[in-house]
Amino acid sequence: MSWEIVVGIETHAQLATRSKIFSGAATAFGAAPNTQASAVDIALPGVLPVLNGAAVECAIRFGIAVGGTINRRSVFARKNYFYPDLPKGYQISQYELPVVAGGSISLAVGDLQKIVRLTRAHLEEDAGKSLHEDFHGMTGIDLNRAGTPLLEIVSEPELRGAAEAVAYARAMHALVRWIGICDGNMQEGSFRCDANVSVRRAGDAALGTRCEIKNLNSFRFMEQAIAYEARRQIEILEGGGRIEQETRLFDPERNETRSMRSKEEAHDYRYFPDPDLLPLVLNEQDIDRIRSQMPELPEAMRERFMRDYELPKEMAQAITSSRETAEDFEAFWGHLLKLTANCDRIQGAQAANWVMMQIGAALNKSGLTITQVPISPLDRATLVSRIIDGTISHRAAGEVLGAMWSGEGTADAIIERRGLQQISDAGAIEQLVADVLAANPKSVGEFRAGKDKALNALVGQVMKASRGKANPAQVNALLRRKLLG
């Protein structure tokens, strides 16, 4: 019997605003407990919410990015429940009329692109934090996070299995960072996902009963949790059991999900429009202004790179994995085009690919991010241009790049100082070749007897004699001519 795993993801992206969604308190992470909890955030009697325009703008940016409908009128509603980290006893959220409806996101699943539709995205406030360390058997409540603006993004249940769910979460993570509405810091909880998981027999049209898994604060945990949960459900169903719709918590230490007992009690959130807040009405000018300020989106950029720069798909994909990488590449590429006006596109792409691989490896080793690379895009482009124009060999370029990374100067200065120029002067190479042929009669004999490999040894000798600076292609050609001529 084969089973299909159906997943829908709810993402809570903390919006990158300075102040909270309904108060003027700071949203900075890591402050001492309750020092960023204002009268509004701790819900003193009599205080009222006032909506932060920047949070609304973030939601609009998102709506534009996913091609969703930006509702010209949306409504804030109260979601009522008691919890110590929810000071008002209700969360201000959006219910019947969210700010964004529909839209979709494209993600790479293996070699294929998959379009996943979104149900909605709505604005809401975050809750505080419960700290369960020992306070004489009590729980401590820190309300610094209470009121932090969130965009809750809900996908349709169109993801099939853990790998797709993770691909979706990664694509969403990249997108919210790309459009600058969320810093994406998962350790600090800026980007959190809940997964709704159900299973059904292959071919069934109806969805199975779903369980919601909370606390998925890394992509790895998400993959493990969904895989575990699907297995659990399949085992129950195959054993003739029934799935209870419930909220479950992923326990990364035991690699399993377990029922959240405290949330078991029947939900009845008693949503109703918040009388303290008028409907959010958006006008065309504001939306147009925001649209005009949107950065080029990753998909469009990827296609442009493939079309205009003739970059291979994998490379375009890698470059557009984050906006920083893409911007860095655009700067580098711009300089390179200027420096090598007549260069061949394919050659350029190969050289660019080479430098990117080198930089990628160096980043991995150093733990730095793309914005911290100590070599400017111009310097990198100069280096690549020296490969293309034949000044240095790839091998020498590796050495130059290493020196540049450690701050020894520009590519040209390092090449000059270390004497790494390739010898392209035909006369000089001819002399070297003549010397090597004279000194290695055995290899010459072997080659002439049909042993092609013997040529490699001769090339190696010439390169050695040039201390690596001879242009290998030139050496190769010259040797053949002399030997066969």
């Binding site: 819900a43 003193l44 009697p45 009599g46 006032v50 008691f82 110590p84 409540i141 008693r270």
Partner: protein, 486 residues
């Protein structure tokens, strides 16, 4: 001096015939003498009052006095006052010293008024008799065996008994106007959004509106000039040009079209109330106003609609009282859920709990559409009735309440009977309209009768003007309550 209106007192302060300290002392002495009987104040801080009075006198001496500088007044205990107990009439907040000031409190402080204290009220403004107060009921100065009305009963009693020349109140379904009518004072519920709700402890957010209570319409206008105005901290506060609420005090009555809804003169109204109200209306007619009979067909639904919407909003607004960050917390409990349940069961009184339960019910799954959504739709019909009525008239008149002040304890166990008492005051807040109650005579027992004037949005000045003309010709508002002679 104590029987003077606020405008007269302002004149005396300006002339220097009395200082704010002297005036404040007079009020404090009277409070000390009569509050034991009236229970109008929950908190009085004489030292603070005198400190503010001295500051007001200094401000006057420095030539920086405004029209209200040095005037003593009282705030309903629903307004947060920094450094002072703010109880909302509840055990839940019996120990709550507010760390901040309400917008209205700030406004009056900036105007240089002197705070005499915080007045008694029905718990969380839920009630129309003051009997739901955790601190015991305030009494009606006309007959202390009767209620002063509510929820702003303490403010009404204080103004009526001349403990304070003016006080603030709040009105959700009649909480300013009904106690004003019961105690023979004047009270204005402004257009929704005119007075900031910031720092006014919420009962039903879409209905709550702060307003002034005083002896005459002219005083209400002065108070409104200080209270009203935009506040960025309240998203429902309106951004409008500054308005002088006194500007129509001398406007002529000739040609004024007074709407008389048939529904406001029907069965269930005490005959003497009806008689006094008709006499007042006749006066207006005699002085040039034109009477227009009209219908507010959906007004009979106002009480049922109100008792869906107000409890729904209240059930949510009062969720913050959970014993975690401020206020009462039960002593013994088994776990978190038990702490919540006991804290709230102990902290809230019976009426508040009743309304929380009703509100929880009408919002709960499966009932929302039939109750809450339906109530919001009928609310729209009620508002439309008014809009249509105001195409034919400039203001609407009728009784403020169907009876004069009832006896303490009457119908105590019959909430519905109590709710029906608000039948004439509930429609205006549902529609967000301004409405005013002024005294227009007495019944045979010597209890005051209130006349209600309702206007279209932002018609406060017009209502005050009409009321002022009437008060220039009558002296109901000058009468001193029998139980609290000067």
């Amino acid at each position: 001096m104590l029987n003077s209106t606020l405008s007269e007192l302002a004149g005396a302060l300006a002339r220097g015939s009395i200082s704010s300290v002297e005036l404040t002392r007079l009020c404090l002495e009277r409070i000390a003498r009569l509050n034991g009987v009236l229970n109008a104040f929950i908190t009085v801080d004489a030292e603070r009052s005198l400190r503010e009075a001295r500051a007001a006198d200094e401000r006057r001496a420095a030539g920086r006095a405004g029209p209200l500088t040095g005037i003593p007044l009282a705030h309903k205990d629903i307004y947060c006052t920094r450094g002072m107990l703010t109880t909302c009439g509840s055990r839940m907040l019996a120990n709550f010293v507010s760390p901040y000031d309400a917008h209205v409190v700030e406004r009056f402080a900036a105007a240089g008024t002197v705070l005499l204290g915080k007045t008694n009220m029905d718990e969380f403004a839920m009630g129309s008799s003051n009997e739901t107060s955790y601190f015991g009921p305030a009494k009606n100065p006309w007959d202390t065996a009767h209620v002063p009305g509510g929820s702003s009963g303490g403010s009404a009693a204080a103004v009526a008994a001349r403990l304070a020349p003016a006080a603030t109140g709040t009105d959700t379904g009649g909480s300013i106007r009904q106690p004003a009518a019961f105690t023979g004072v004047c009270g204005l519920k402004p257009t929704y959004g005119v007075v900031s709700r910031y720092g006014m402890i919420a009962f039903a957010s879409s209905l709550d509106q702060g307003g002034p209570m005083a002896r005459c319409a002219e005083d209400l206008a002065l108070l409104m000039n200080a209270m009203a105005g935009h506040d960025a901290r309240d998203s429902t506060s309106l951004e409008r040009a500054t308005e002088d609420y006194s500007r129509e005090l001398s406007a002529p009555l000739a040609g004024l079209r007074i709407g008389l809804p048939r529904e406001y003169f029907g069965a269930g109204i005490a005959p003497e109330v009806l008689a006094r109200v008709r006499e007042a209306i006749a006066w207006f007619e005699a002085h040039g106003a034109r009477l227009v009979e009209l219908d507010l067909p959906n007004s009979r639904l106002a009480v049922p609609v109100y008792y869906v919407i107000a409890p729904a909003e209240a059930s949510s607004n009062l969720s913050r009282f959970d014993g975690v960050r401020y206020g009462h917390r039960a002593r013994g409990y088994a776990d978190l859920a038990d702490m919540y349940c006991r804290t709230r069961a102990e902290g809230f009184g019976a009426e508040v709990k009743r309304r929380i339960l009703i509100g929880t019910y009408v919002l709960s799954h499966g009932y929302y559409d039939a109750y809450y959504l339906q109530a919001q739709k009928v609310r729209r019909l009620i508002a439309r009735d008014f809009a249509e009525a105001f195409e034919r008239c400039d203001l609407i008149m009728g009784p403020t309440a169907p009876s004069t002040a009832f006896a303490l304890g009457a119908n105590r166990d019959d909430p519905v009977q109590r709710y029906l008492n608000d039948i004439f005051t509930i429609p205006a807040p549902l529609a967000g309209l301004p409405a005013l109650s002024i005294p227009c005579g007495f019944d045979a027992a010597g209890l005051p009768v209130g006349l209600q004037l309702t206007g279209k949005h932002f018609a406060e000045a017009r209502l005050l003007g009409a009321a002022h003309r009437y008060q220039q010709a009558t002296d109901w508002h000058r009468r001193v309550p029998a139980a609290t002679p000067l």
